[in-house]
Structures are given as structure tokens and as C-alpha cells.
């Protein structure tokens, strides 16, 4: 009996302890994490032996929080020269921010954490809990670079470009299609991705500022009175300055630095706004594929082909033949990376731009180790696409392929090609789209055929 009573007491005590322990728990506020890899890169570039101080980094975080808020309560900076509302909608950001849940009417909140943060991380650093085993790694938004877009390399993506990837997903990767979500929720996610990218880019700008304009012991947002006093003394034959002079110097420097912060932030927003403006120019508008085929037909007729006997299939075959020449020719030069058989086995030793930025194209072991310590994922070689699958990660439409050829793929060795005329790009697209239907693409015949072709 006493054994039984003791057992019950033990159980009761265990339950009480468990409840007490759990009652002490609570969800801590989500926090943005520091951009440690870029801070490290800036430190190295500035030659700071000991790196930025903890207070300097804290200062950057404080300024960022003042401008952009927190993961639970995002905000947008008020900038004199840029209308940030043209780019970001705070009401949509609030739908995507915060912890996951909904109200009684089913209006969601925390959409980003529900759908994206597991892979892309709360900060959008591409370092969420599931990131390390995914291949390719989830995108790190903070450089503002996105692979699949209609804008050329160097330009930020359009809202529609990001939305397309969110809706369609990326085949063969862990990036899912969110097609089943309501449009309002997809819009909110895209806005939040832009927000995180812009915030990350601003952080980069701040570290650039620390690297370029500010001494090792100085701060981004405010001046150090000791540094101000030293500067005043240096300019006055070493005589100690009056406190009033120091205060005035500090106030003046603080004002300049706040202006600099606004300047850095405006630069980032302007880059995103520029992309939309750039894409309205006539020179970058896409020529219709049908127009390209019509022009080719006219060329063939002018060269002596019988117009009545010239079928669409014959025009397409000619276009593909021209595309093939470009593929293997010096202007297109596609085979160098995609391989002579287009199996994506040409150049296999490259890294993506996010990695190269940190460790270079031929990395040293100690650099890799150093940046991994600061949050960089284990470097992996980037593989050119196997064009014989007929699966293109940036989109399956001919227009998507046109953009890839013309604009390149940001952050990868795939370059944009401004030497090709629009019509030539369409020839190349037609050839690339024909590759999966060639006999060599049949998996049962591919290996011996390819081997012969390579040899």
C-alpha cells in the first residue's frame, strides 16, 4: 500500500514539476540575425585585425531595427527622396510577418514563417533549419540578387518575377509551388521577400559604410566623443579642446551620419525602383517569337525558297539549325558550360555568386573555414542545366528561356548575352527546346551516343 501511495506521490510531483517547468517557458520574440558573413568580408576588406566591435555591430542592428522594425512588427523607413510605398505595402507586410495563426474569420498572419522561414530563415539569409541538406541551398535574399527574373544581371527583379517563382515553384528543387494559396497571401509573401531583401541590402550598405568611412572604433549612427576630441586636438597642435567644441563636433558628426544612413537606405530602394523603370524602355522589350519566325520566313523566301512549299515546320527546322550553330559558336558559346552534348557536364567546378563573393573563385581552405564559422553554408559547385530534360528551373515558357539567354542568370556563371539579336535569341530558344526530342536524349540511347559524340 505504501509503495502504491509513494508511486502516486511521485507521479503527482512529476506532473507538478513538468507544469512548473513549462509555465516558465514562453515563445521568445523572433529576431533578425546579423549578416555575419558580410560583416566578416567588410572587416577583412577594411583590414581591421580584430573585426568590428560588438558595440559597432549592435549599433548597426539598432539602426536597422529603427528603420525596418522587427520580424513581429515590420516598419518602413521614411525617406525624403524615395517613395517607399511604391515598392512595399506595409499592410501586406503585416499579413506575412509575426507568428503563425489566424483570427476567427480565417484571416491569416505569419505567412512567411508558415511557408518560407523553415528554409529561408527568419532573416531571409537562406539559413533556416532545413537549409543545410537542401540542394541547391535556399536563396539568401540579403544581397538583393535573384536568379530567375526578366531584368538583366545587375538589376533587381520585378515584383512579377518573384511572384511567378512563388506561384510556379522551381522544378527539381525544394522550392514549392504556392499555386494553391489565395492571391492575397502570395502577394503578401512576395512583399515580405522584397522587404527582407531590401533590409539585407541596407545592412550590407551599412557595413560598407563602416568599412569605408568610419574608423575602427567609430560608429555608424553616432560619433565617439573621444575620437572627436582627438580630431580637434590634432587640428589644434595637440591642445585639449573645450567640452563645448567637442559637443558641437559630435552633434555635427551625428547629423552627417544620420544623413549617410538615409543615403545608404535610399540607394537600396532606388535600385529596386530603377529595375521597374528600366523594363519600360523600348530597347528591352521582348520581340515576339512569331515575329521572329515571320522574319526568318521572309529571309528564306528572299534567298530563293518556294513560298508556297515553305511550311512552318521547315521554318522552325531552319531556326533550330541556326540556333545550333549559335549554341556551338563563339557568340553563343553555350557548349562550354552545358557540354558538347548539352547534358550540363561542361564546366562543373564553378561556385555561385553568393559563395564567390565571400571566398573567391578559387577558394583557400582557411577562407572556407572562416566563413563557414560565420554562417556560410558548405560551398557546393554549381552545375549547368542538363538541357536534354526539357526542364528549365526559371520557367518552361519560351519567353522564360528568352530571358535566360538575353539576361543570364544572376549569381551564376550563366552570362547575359547582349551580342545576340532578338531573332538570334529565338533561334537559340528553338534549338534548346528541340534538344529533349533528339534521339540522343532518349535515356536508353543517351550514354553510348553521348560517349561517341564526346570522343
Amino acid at each position: 500500500m505504501s509503495v502504491c501511495r509513494n508511486w502516486r506521490h511521485c507521479l503527482a510531483a512529476l506532473l507538478a514539476a513538468a507544469f512548473a517547468g513549462l509555465a516558465g517557458c514562453g515563445s521568445p520574440d523572433a529576431k533578425f540575425v546579423e549578416y555575419r558573413t558580410y560583416a566578416r568580408l567588410s572587416e577583412k576588406a577594411a583590414g581591421y585585425e580584430n573585426g568590428f566591435t560588438h558595440l559597432q555591430r549592435q549599433d548597426v542592428n539598432n539602426v536597422l531595427a529603427a528603420l525596418y522594425g522587427t520580424p513581429d512588427a515590420p516598419s518602413l523607413p521614411a525617406l525624403a527622396n524615395v517613395d517607399v510605398t511604391k515598392l512595399l505595402d506595409i499592410s501586406k507586410l503585416k499579413l506575412a510577418a509575426g507568428s503563425v495563426g489566424s483570427d476567427g474569420k480565417g484571416r491569416p498572419r505569419g505567412l512567411y514563417r508558415e511557408h518560407c522561414a523553415h528554409c529561408h530563415g527568419i532573416t531571409g539569409d537562406g539559413n533556416g533549419p532545413t537549409a543545410s541538406f537542401l540542394n541547391p541551398y535556399p536563396r539568401d535574399y540579403r544581397a538583393g540578387l535573384f536568379k530567375f527574373k526578366s531584368t538583366p544581371i545587375g538589376y533587381r527583379p520585378l515584383h512579377e518575377d518573384l511572384k511567378k517563382i512563388v506561384i510556379d515553384g522551381i522544378p527539381g528543387t525544394a522550392m514549392p509551388s504556392f499555386r494553391l494559396l489565395p492571391d492575397q497571401e502570395i502577394e503578401a509573401l512576395v512583399e515580405y521577400v522584397k522587404y527582407l531583401a531590401i533590409r539585407g541590402e541596407t545592412e550590407r550598405q551599412f557595413y560598407n559604410g563602416l568599412k569605408d568611412d568610419i574608423s575602427e572604433s567609430d560608429f555608424l549612427s553616432h560619433a565617439d566623443p573621444a575620437v572627436a576630441a582627438k580630431e580637434l586636438a590634432d587640428g589644434n597642435d595637440g591642445k585639449a579642446p573645450a567640452q563645448k567644441a567637442i559637443d558641437e563636433k559630435v552633434a555635427e558628426t551625428d547629423k552627417q551620419r544620420l544623413e549617410a544612413i538615409k543615403g545608404y537606405t535610399e540607394t537600396v530602394f532606388q535600385k529596386w525602383l530603377e529595375a521597374a523603370e528600366f523594363m519600360t524602355q523600348d530597347t528591352v522589350k521582348v520581340t515576339n517569337r512569331n515575329d521572329a519566325m515571320r522574319v526568318l520566313r521572309e529571309e528564306l523566301v528572299a534567298a530563293g525558297s518556294n513560298e508556297k512549299k515553305l511550311t512552318d515546320e521547315m521554318v522552325l527546322a531552319e531556326s533550330q539549325q541556326r540556333g545550333r550553330k549559335l549554341f556551338y559558336g563563339p557568340i553563343g558559346n553555350c557548349f562550354t558550360c552545358h557540354g558538347p552534348t548539352a547534358l550540363g557536364d561542361g564546366q562543373l567546378g564553378d561556385y555561385d555568386g553568393w559563395t564567390v563573393e565571400l571566398i573567391g573563385k578559387t577558394p583557400k581552405k582557411e577562407d572556407i573555414k572562416d566563413y563557414i564559422k560565420h554562417g556560410m553554408p558548405e560551398p557546393r559547385n554549381i552545375r549547368p542545366r542538363n538541357l536534354r530534360h526539357g526542364v528549365y528551373r526559371g520557367g518552361m515558357r519560351p519567353l522564360d528561356l528568352y530571358w535566360r539567354v538575353r539576361n543570364g542568370i544572376e549569381g551564376t556563371p550563366m552570362p547575359g548575352n547582349d551580342k545576340l539579336k532578338p531573332q538570334e535569341i529565338w533561334h537559340l530558344v528553338n534549338y534548346v527546346q528541340s534538344l529533349p526530342y533528339e534521339q540522343i536524349s532518349n535515356p536508353y540511347e543517351a550514354v553510348p551516343e553521348n560517349r561517341r559524340e564526346r570522343n
Binding site: 517557458c25 489566424s102 533549419p129 540542394n135 522551381i170 527539381g172 525544394a174 553554408p377 526539357g390
Partner: protein, 339 residues
């Protein structure tokens, strides 16, 4: 309790209610899995009420025709409450109709566990804490396995004298099933960690948990295969072990298939498979019906495997590890006293 006593008329209500408890708990786990899969855990922000209503008085039409996440979460709460009520009924039935002291303790333990689980679920909502959801997710299958034990322990067969044999292969089977049940539970907790991973956890944690989950899956497949073969056809084979052995073999095959499907439907095929057209062109459909169903079925199947192994361990112990069921009961009491 003597063997003579067991032949006397046995009150059927404890067994009936234990069966009812298991039957309520399984869909409860399924709906709980759906809550996690569809991220509906915070669809109702208060607890124990629902949007200010008493849980049981929340308007049926609002629940039924409301948003999906509210439907799932409130449904989970109602099923949980039903499981609690059935457990209370079971405790009363056992105290009135079963004179075995350890059985009464076991029924009280079930009540303690269901209360603990309910409070955990409530605290998960009040604190909006994923780690608490993880613990909640691990306690559910444990409770289901325990309810299956109660089904076994209250059954008429259990109370009849067992023709116990002193067979080394039988003892190995009992020990193996117990070990497999512990491993299955460990595997289940790692699975729960994968589903409830905190968003600020370093990537290495998820990676390690996933590798662990895969390795343990392999170990369990081999172990359960050996146990099923032994229970079915080996020298320790016995008619009463065949049903759990058959079920376990089927469940393991299903579980491996569900595990692979869950992974692929969430994270796509591994990168090395992109040489195949089907893998290279596969696009994950987030929040699709198939994705939700597969992940939830994987959770339910894991709980069933744990319950199956527990049942097999109990039956094998009864047959081979102890001379009589009452001796096993005495052994259990002594083990509890020792701990």
C-alpha cells in the same frame, strides 16, 4: 488475484471502455497531426475556451462552416475532451469492476497522462511555443500505446491463465519487441522534432535529426522484420502473436513508403536523382491535399507501429516471460516500486 478468481465472471466494461479509448485516441492523433501539417495550431488563440466560448458551447454551425484551420483545431480539442471523458469512464469502470490493484493504478496513470497531454496542448496555445507542441506531439502516441496496453490488460484472454513456456526464443522475442517499442518511440520523437523544429534552430540540428531518423528507420525495418518472422513462424510462434506480427509487417512497409512520400512531397527528390526526368521535373505543391494527407498518415502509422510493438511485447511477455498473467502484474508493481 488468483487463477481461480480469473475464471469468475469478469466485468466487461473496463475492456469496452479501453477499446473505446483507443478508438477515440487514434483519430485524435490523426487530427492532431493534421493540425501540425496545416499549421492550424494557433487558429484558436485562447484555451481552454474557444474564442471566449466554453469549448463545448462553441456554435456548431460556426465551427462546421468556418475556416479550415479553425475546423481542424477545434475538432482536435473536442476529440481530446472526448478522450478525457472516456478515460474518466475507464477509471470509474476499473475501480468498480476490476479488483487488480495494479490495473487501478494503470487506469489512474492513463487519466494523469491524458490530463497532462490536454494541459500541454493548452499551454502550447497560450505560449505560442513550438517546443511545447513538440512535447505534445510526442505524448500523444505514448498515450495511444498506453491505451492499447489497457485494451490488452483488461481483455478476457489476459485474465485467463496463460500456458506459459520457458522458451529462450520466446523470451528473446519479448525482449526484442520491448526494445523495438523503445526505438520506435525514440524514432517518433525525432520525427516530431523534424515537424516542430524551432525556426531559429541551426541547420545542423535538422540535418542531424533527419539522418538519425533515416538510420533508425533502417534499424527498425530490420528489427520489426525479424520480430514478425519470429512471431509468425519461428519456434516462438504463437497464434495470439500472429495478428500483431502481421499488422506490424504491413505497417512497416506502409510507413517506409509514407516516409519517402512525405519527404518527396515536402522537399522534392534528392539532387542526385535529377538525372531522371521525373525527379528533375517534379514540383512540390505546398499545402496540397496529398502533401497534408501523406505527412499526417506518416504520423498516424508511426503511432500504430508503436502500439503494435507494445501489444506484441505484452503478449510475448505473457506467453514466455512470466508464468501467469497475475505474476506479470505483480512484476509490474515491483518494477514500479523499484523505480
Amino acid at each position: 488475484m488468483t487463477e481461480t478468481a480469473t475464471t469468475a465472471k469478469v466485468n466487461p466494461w473496463p475492456h469496452r471502455l479501453a477499446v473505446a479509448l483507443a478508438l477515440v485516441t487514434l483519430p485524435l492523433i490523426a487530427v492532431g497531426g493534421l493540425v501540425t501539417t496545416t499549421d492550424a495550431g494557433m487558429a484558436v488563440p485562447d484555451w481552454p475556451g474557444t474564442f471566449g466560448y466554453n469549448m463545448f458551447l462553441y456554435p456548431l454551425s460556426t465551427w462546421w462552416s468556418g475556416p479550415w484551420d479553425l475546423f481542424v483545431e477545434h475538432g482536435h480539442r473536442l476529440l481530446g475532451a472526448l478522450a478525457g471523458l472516456v478515460t474518466i469512464g475507464l477509471v470509474i469502470a476499473v475501480w468498480l469492476g476490476d479488483s487488480r490493484r495494479w490495473m487501478r493504478d494503470a487506469s489512474l496513470a492513463a487519466l494523469g497522462l491524458v490530463i497532462f497531454q490536454g494541459v500541454l496542448g493548452g499551454l502550447r496555445v497560450l505560449f505560442d511555443e513550438r517546443m511545447m507542441a513538440l512535447v505534445h506531439g510526442c505524448t500523444g502516441p505514448l498515450f495511444f500505446a498506453f491505451s492499447m496496453c489497457l485494451v490488452e490488460l483488461t481483455s478476457r484472454t489476459w485474465r485467463q491463465p496463460a500456458a506459459a513456456q520457458n522458451l529462450p526464443a520466446g523470451r528473446r522475442l519479448a525482449r526484442g519487441a520491448s526494445l523495438a517499442a523503445c526505438l520506435a518511440y525514440l524514432q517518433l520523437t525525432v520525427g516530431a522534432l523534424l515537424r516542430h523544429i524551432p525556426l531559429d534552430a541551426p541547420p545542423q540540428v535538422f540535418r542531424a535529426a533527419l539522418l538519425f531518423h533515416l538510420v533508425f528507420a533502417g534499424v527498425l525495418v530490420v528489427l520489426v522484420g525479424m520480430l514478425a518472422a519470429s512471431a509468425f513462424a519461428g519456434s516462438a510462434g504463437h497464434p495470439s502473436l500472429r495478428l500483431p506480427a502481421n499488422c506490424l509487417a504491413l505497417l512497416m512497409i506502409t510507413q517506409v513508403w509514407l516516409g519517402v512520400s512525405t519527404y518527396v512531397m515536402k522537399y522534392s527528390w534528392p539532387a542526385w536523382m535529377d538525372r531522371f526526368d521525373f525527379a528533375a521535373s517534379y514540383v512540390v505543391q505546398e499545402k496540397s491535399f496529398g502533401q497534408s494527407l501523406t505527412a499526417t498518415a506518416h504520423v498516424v502509422c508511426g503511432s500504430l507501429i508503436l502500439a503494435g510493438l507494445t501489444t506484441l511485447a505484452l503478449r510475448a511477455s505473457r506467453l514466455y516471460a512470466a508464468k501467469t498473467s497475475s505474476e506479470l502484474g505483480a512484476n509490474l508493481t515491483l518494477m514500479r516500486a523499484a523505480t
